[in-house]
């Protein structure tokens, strides 16, 4: 199931902009391990919800029909007999 070229390019553009990794997250956790239990580092749920809403308004997501519900995406793939192109990103951090 190929995306239109314009969408693909936008996705890859975002790819190039964000380079963080999960292992980096652990390394950061390790670096800050002395203050692991300090709650001030946590973002509020309200802030996280606002960040997700902002992420969903990114142009590259509005230019194509993306399923954001995993169950619905799989159901649609089953119905259309196509494979799923899946893009994983994050909203809690830039």
């Amino acid at each position: 199931m190929a995306a239109p070229p314009s969408i693909r390019l936008q996705v890859f553009r975002e790819f190039a902009q964000v380079k963080s990794t999960i292992s980096t997250t652990l390394v950061l956790a390790l670096i800050g391990a002395g203050s692991l239990a300090v709650p001030g580092h946590a973002q509020s749920q309200k802030a996280l919800i606002a960040k997700k809403k902002a992420k969903l308004k990114k142009p590259f997501l509005e230019n194509a029909k993306w399923f954001t519900d995993y169950d619905k995406a799989r159901a649609a793939a089953t119905k259309s007999q196509k494979v799923l192109f899946t893009y994983f990103t994050r909203s809690y951090s830039p």
């Binding site: 996705v11 992420k55 899946t86 994983f88």
Partner: protein
């Protein structure tokens, strides 16, 4: 097209889908089947890489699947190994694959065996908040049990495991366990000076009973 956003919002469904599908960083692309099994991951971050994966690797998976249904034991084994590489097998399925009556050859068995402990750590630690060691208790218990039964793996899996065991030991004020985990982390390659210093200070704090 499916978009998954890791948001850290507590009410989210499938918050750890990225790690469940073998992703280790953002952003991450994958082609999945209708059950959510990963079929291929674009190796190159380019339109050409994307197209190549879609037109070669995805069909190759289905061809291998078809061959496994119709073909020999070796074909079935090859498909099982492909599924293992793509992360379709959980640790129970991995254990079964290398267990009694296995269709795999010695090399294939060795490959899966070598990854089993790491996979078990991944399963146990899935979804853990590494920034909050007050929540490590139940996970640390499982990891200690794994250490006794299988041993903890080297590399990142082992470091993650020891990090959790150490954090839990700190909260339980278990000096010996904390020291043991810290030593294992150092041996395992944890060498960030700030991290080591912070943990040694914690160890001194525990030894002084000041917590």
């Amino acid at each position: 097209m499916f978009l998954h956003i890791t948001s850290r919002i507590k009410s989210e469904k499938y918050p750890d889908l990225l790690s469940e599908k073998g992703g280790r960083g953002f952003p991450h692309l994958a082609f999945m089947d209708q059950d959510g099994n990963v079929l291929a991951k674009p190796k190159k971050r380019s339109v050409a890489g994307f197209t190549e994966t879609l037109t070669t690797e995805v069909p190759a998976f289905f061809a291998l699947k078809k061959k496994a249904v119709e073909g020999s034991k070796a074909d079935k084994a090859a498909f099982l190994m492909r599924r293992f590489e793509l992360g379709h097998l959980n640790t129970d399925q991995m254990s079964k694959a290398i267990g009694k009556g296995t269709i795999l050859n010695e090399k294939q068995i060795k490959t899966i065996t070598g990854k089993l402990a790491e996979a078990k750590v991944t399963e146990i630690t899935r979804g853990v908040n590494f920034r909050d060691d007050s929540t490590f208790g139940p996970i640390a218990k499982k990891l200690r049990a794994l250490e006794k039964s299988d041993g903890l793996p080297p590399g990142r899996g082992g470091l993650n495991a020891w990090f959790i065991i150490m954090g839990d030991a700190y909260h339980r004020k278990d000096v010996k366990e904390f020291e043991r985990a810290l030593t294992a982390m150092k041996k395992g390659g944890a060498n960030n000076p700030r991290f080591i210093k912070a943990q040694e200070e914690r160890l001194k704090e525990l030894q002084g009973g000041k917590k």
